[in-house]
């Protein structure tokens, strides 16, 4: 990509392939992929799926701000984030963060920074739908 940051919201699960492709480049010596997945249980209850809701107009600029912070703090080349909107079945991916760097030294810290900030700032919400048909909102950070 010409830019150092890429983001997209997708309906349904993510698998990380788009994020990996978005940061690919021959200048990279390593690429980190974080893939968050929907757990099949929560508080001892069986979870069928997660249902995500996002403020679409705000997610991209907020994630860009987070990525710019990460790029300023860590020696990495490119960051791509892909997040699900809508329904994600248990076991499937809901968020992918790919980070390419020349060397591995800071790529893990950059990945942790992006995910921690995403959890605190990205305007996205989710609901767990349980096997018994009930559902509840996941408590925000």
């Amino acid at each position: 990509m010409s830019e150092r940051f890429a983001f997209r919201l997708v309906e349904g699960p993510v698998d990380g392939a788009w994020a990996l492709a978005a940061v690919h480049g021959t200048d990279a010596g390593c690429t980190l992929l974080f893939l968050g997945t929907a757990r099949a249980s929560s508080g001892g209850r069986a979870v069928l799926r997660l249902e995500y809701e996002a403020y679409g107009a705000m997610v991209e600029p907020e994630m860009r701000c987070i990525a710019e912070d990460a790029l300023a703090r860590h020696a990495v080349l490119r960051i791509a984030v892909e997040h699900s909107a809508g329904t994600v079945p248990a076991g499937a991916g809901s968020v992918a963060v790919a980070i390419a760097a020349a060397h591995r030294s800071e790529v893990f810290a950059a990945g942790a920074f992006v995910m921690n900030e995403l959890k605190m700032r990205a305007p996205i919400w989710k609901r767990e739908v349980f096997a018994d048909g009930s559902s509840s909102r996941v408590q925000g950070s």
């Binding site: 809701e53 968020v95 995910m115 995403l118 959890k119 305007p123 408590q139 950070s141």
Partner: protein, 77 residues
Amino acid sequence: MQVLLFANLTEACGARSVEVVIALPAHAAEVRVAAERQHPGLRGRTFRIAVNARYAAEGDAVTDGAKVAFLPPVAGG
């Protein structure tokens, strides 16, 4: 002005947006107070205010035509 709602705020108010009557420009905090007074479902709820798709401080100005949203604690990932 129309204010967008998300997550538990939509359920509390039974709508994805609410009309808030307020003279503009106003501070974001004043929009919050007016909204809570006019829409009881918002009272006691925790939410941040976004103005034009960015988080706003309570003292930030909300001008005519601004896109305002109330954002409950987020839970992405």
